[in-house]
Symmetry: C2
């Protein structure tokens, strides 16, 4: 499947652990994985993240998206912590580069048996100005550390397509930005992504389960159109 649910609790969601447990329960059958981030960590702590990971289907991707952006030892220490809490992938910024940063994190991920995902592009306006000129460099860093995958925004399918062309088929591309941020389900898949990450559209829906299956269906329709 092609859907990853981002667990960012909305304001007024009540107890974030109960909220997360409910979303995981409702969307687990439609989602290939779940992604947690810094706001949830700040709310529930590592023990809370561990509890949520334990509720995710065993075969699902469990992605800790702390957007790591520090020197090697700090990122490695964070990777060890989230791996111990049951997460099997971490996201780090490509602009840190290899030497003294991603190299050490990649070694740590390998020894922990978890996946390293390198963020190479973002969707906010300033990213076009500052990060876009670096796209080829950041992809090169991801390749040099033999990352499992990269993150590139669904809101900018031309970036996803460039990323796929540069990486070839041997890497996973994860694309956030579908739904509330404006991309249609399937747009990133058609451009070459493997998974679309969807947050608010599903988690703030009155019926997250139904909405998750609707996103899957719309992804399938879009892919069958673009590959026709």
């Amino acid at each position: 499947m092609t859907l990853i649910v981002a667990l960012d609790p909305p304001p007024g969601a009540g107890d974030p652990l109960e909220w997360g447990a409910r979303i995981i329960g409702e969307t687990g059958a439609a989602a290939s994985g779940f992604k947690i981030g810094l706001p949830l960590l700040l709310k529930v702590g590592l023990p809370g993240l561990e509890r949520l990971a334990s509720l995710m289907p065993p075969e699902s991707l469990k992605i800790a998206d702390l957007k790591l952006a520090d020197i090697g030892p700090v990122m490695s220490s964070a990777a060890e912590a989230v791996a111990s809490a049951g997460y099997d992938a971490v996201i780090a910024h490509g602009f840190l580069g290899v030497e003294g940063a991603l190299d050490e994190l990649a070694d740590t991920c390998r020894s922990l048996g978890i996946k390293l995902v390198v963020l190479v592009s973002m969707s906010h306006p300033a990213a076009s100005r500052i990060m876009d000129p670096l796209l080829d460099t950041l992809l090169e860093e991801a390749i040099r550390v033999d990352a499992w995958g990269v993150v590139a925004p669904a809101t900018r399918p031309e970036i996803v397509a460039r990323t796929r062309r540069r990486l070839g088929p041997g890497y996973i591309i994860l694309s956030p930005g579908v739904g509330a941020q404006g991309a249609e389900p399937g747009a990133a898949l058609c451009a070459g992504a493997d998974y679309e990450i969807v947050g608010r559209r599903i988690t703030r829906s009155p019926n997250p389960r139904e909405e998750a299956f609707l996103v899957l269906e719309k992804q399938r329709e879009a892919v069958s159109r673009c590959r026709a």
Copy 2:
């Protein structure tokens, strides 16, 4: 004073809250402030960070160094969380840029009454290759959001000096890298920094209080030499 102590618990430090409380107690008289990071957050959670902030002298800088590197709403949510825990400064990466990222974080910091510190350079080897060519751009982003200060590494005094020349006197420069990472106390101050951030050299010393005062003394000696 010119010393900020980085509270990164070493392996085998035992209970991280007891460790942090001890370091704060021993070094509070020598330090102008304290800096916590992601590894400590992962160990003690936001309630633990709040407890440590409550032990820091009231007038000290209390810096949450999560190296924020995300879109505006996510960074703002993190800033609100650490401000609620008693921290009065946050560090975010300059490469995120203004529009849709630092602009929103800066607004949030202003409304919370906390300081925004923008990271413009780092000390690991890959940073020279990827971040250095962007230094002027990242300083420009810091100026555009009217940051309180910036972070530039003590291990590379020429970067600190370039940063001070570009920013003029109206911004605070914080420089990590003194001690275990190799910079001598005072090197960054002589290049134009306002504070040096020291971690392991003090926190892993058998006598953190004595070591903190020794660093202060060495800073004063270096500054009196370089300004002679």
